[in-house]
Structures are given as C-alpha cells and as structure tokens.
Symmetry: C2
Subunit: 202 residues, 2 copies
Amino acid sequence: MLELAVLGLLHETPMHGYELRKRLATLLGAFRAAFSYGSLYPTLRRMREAGWITHDEPARRDEAPPLTGRRGRIAYRLTPEGKERFAELMASTSPQAFEDTGFGVHFAFFSRCEPAVRLRVLEGRRRKVEERREALRDTLQRTTQRLDAYSLELQRHGLDACEREVRWLNEIIACESAGRPPRASFGNDADSSSDQPHNSQE
Amino acid sequence: MLELAVLGLLHETPMHGYELRKRLATLLGAFRAAFSYGSLYPTLRRMREAGWITHDEPARRDEAPPLTGRRGRIAYRLTPEGKERFAELMASTSPQAFEDTGFGVHFAFFSRCEPAVRLRVLEGRRRKVEERREALRDTLQRTTQRLDAYSLELQRHGLDACEREVRWLNEIIACESAGRPPRASFGNDADSSSDQPHNSQE
DNA sequence: TTCGTCATGTAATGGGTTACATGATTAC
DNA sequence: GTAATCATGTAACCCATTACATGACGAA
C-alpha cells in the first residue's frame, strides 16, 4: 500500500520524503493514520533500487543554495517504469485492493487511472461490503446466539456502516457509468474539466 | 488485540482454538476480518506459558470418548491471573485502545467490565474520532489544497462517518451515564437483566 | 544559544498473514 | 472409501511501528 501511495503522489509532481508523508497524511486521513518515517524511507530506497523512482541530485551546498536554503532534501520523481508499475498496481484485482485501507488508497488516486479500472475496483469493493453486510444481518437475525447488549449494538452499528457504504458506492458507480466524476455538491462547483482524458461518452 | 479477544471470550466459558476463532469472527465481524490460525495458536501457546490460561487435558482415546467423540480438541480456560490480565488490558488507556480495531475489541467485551472503564474507553474513542473529524473539516475547508473530485469525495465520506460515529458514541455514553446498557430497539426486547451486576439505578 | 520544525535515516520489534503439513471425525 | 469439515499446529514472510540517532535551518 505504501508503495502504491507513493507512486500515486509522485505521479503528479516530484516530492521529497518529508513532504510525501504530510501529503499522504491528509490524503488518506479519512481512513488511516499517517505512515511513519520508519516505513517511508526504507520503502523509498527499495523503490529506487527497483527503478520505479529516481532522485534528482540534492542541491549542493557549495553551489547557490536554492531560495529558502533547505539543502538536505531529496526530491523523488517517477520513472516510466514507475508509471507502469502504478497502473499495474491500480489495476490489480488482488483482494487487498478491496480491503478498507487498500480500497481507500486506490480510490484516492482514481483520477490518475482509467475509467474501466475505477469501475472494477468499485464493484469489487461493493461486493466485499455486501458480503460483510449479509454476514452481519445473519448474526443479528439468528438471535439464537444470545449476544449481550454491547455486542449487539456493535453489530448494528457495523451493519449500518455497511449499508451506508454500499449506497455511497452505488452513487459513485452510477456517476462512473454516466462517464462523470462524483457529485460536486457542497461548495466546490469549480468543475475541473481539465483532467478527464479518458471519457468519450458512451 | 488477539490476546485481549481470547481473554474476553474465555471469560465466559472454556473453549478450544477452532471454536474460539469462529466466535471471534462473528463477534468482531463488524469491523475486522477473522484472525488466522497462524496467529491464534501461537498466541494460545504464549498465553498458556504466561499463565493466563490453562488447558484441560484432552479427552483420552482409551477412555470413554465424550459424547460425539471429537478427541483432539484442547479446551482452554482462564486462570485467575488471566482474569486479572483481562481487567488490566480492558482498563489500559494506551492509544491502541482507541484505534478502530482496538476500540472494537474493547467494546465487544464491555459487558465483562466495570462501568467506569467503559466510560473512559468510550470517551477516549470519542476524543480520537473528534480529532479526525476536525482534521477532515480542515482539509475540506481549505480548498486551497485543490484536491481532485475523488479525493474530495473520499474526505467527505470519511467526515460523514466520523460525525455519525460521534453521534453514536454520544448516545451510548448517555446510556452509560444513566446506568443502563445501549438501546434495545429493533426486535430483541428480551431484556436480559441477568448480567448487569453493576447498576444500582441512578 | 537554544528551541522548534524540517529532514533523513537505521535497528529492533510487533502483530499479524499465507502457505503448508497433518490427522481425526462425520456424512455420503 | 472418499470428501468435507473439524481441529491443531509450524515456518516463512510482510508490512508496518516505535524508538533512536543525526543534523540543518529559522526564529526567539
């Protein structure tokens, strides 16, 4: 997941580790705590060795220090192989992609991938959530189980969350099928028609 | 977490590994996939070595096979030290206890612990979710960030989930303060007044 | 000069998963 | 007798975390 997340962010613009981590924190904050440096930096090294990313030479101190002068930073950018790798990971239908975190990371980078891939991920996720929902309905109906009040409440809350997510997914899938990004209600009506390269409408 | 979960289940009645896992799967199914045997059995061994649990001798084949005849099963039960350990883990205010999974496990065993502990866990969780909620509101308001439509939608959905959970927690906290278990709406009106040892009503 | 934040990294550890190996019991 | 499921376990690995070490830079 970290690898995909890094590829996703660098897909747009080069960045150094520290910034990468901050951007990731806000981007994935809806469903996950920030990744730690202890996993980020080793991952960056691995990815560099694998050839997915390169780092521009850090600005040397003996040359003119760049603007605000920060010097030790290492800006990474995607290689062509990295772009391929990104597409590959986004498209992979491994069960991981439909788990909470995996799905979240995929979703966050949906604008960087093809509509067909988005649809497959969304439908995979929906299937998974529906399964969980059915399981929860089962447990709640078979009161034979005699769960205590707290466990029951937990199941109920979980079921509610599942139902809600399925509805949400359905909305988004509907948008996708209509060939447009999700509802832009709620303030931000500046429709960015710029980065929608993949839709011929049909 | 697995350790706490096992202690929690065995708190009620002895059980063998396989059953433990199934029970856990339905009990925690609302927010987590089942634990694998690969983590369950080693954990059971660790816990036995630590003295939290013991296993009754497996029924010997050369004696009368017990009823349906299953033989290899090893039923574990809690030792007094295990009970203490359970109370200790339930009461610990480590940040872990307020994470998604950690909180879920705690909540699932609320009926096995004291009201004061429940309240602390619930309030800790609420604080955590509120923090996340504020962070999400921030990101959504500072549209300066120029997130794409998908990321925006993700944040929105996340924010919604946070708000919902806070409301849910508030309900439950209200019940706790009133000295009664969560609302028993929705069918199961067989009020089990049996296992509520801690409430004098006030 | 000292403190906070930016910035990069390593070592040890943790808490789980997957895949595998084994065998008893039950139902057909 | 054979397939499904019950039941226990090990070994290898994975992906991340915590704690630690280092140091530059800007502001007080």
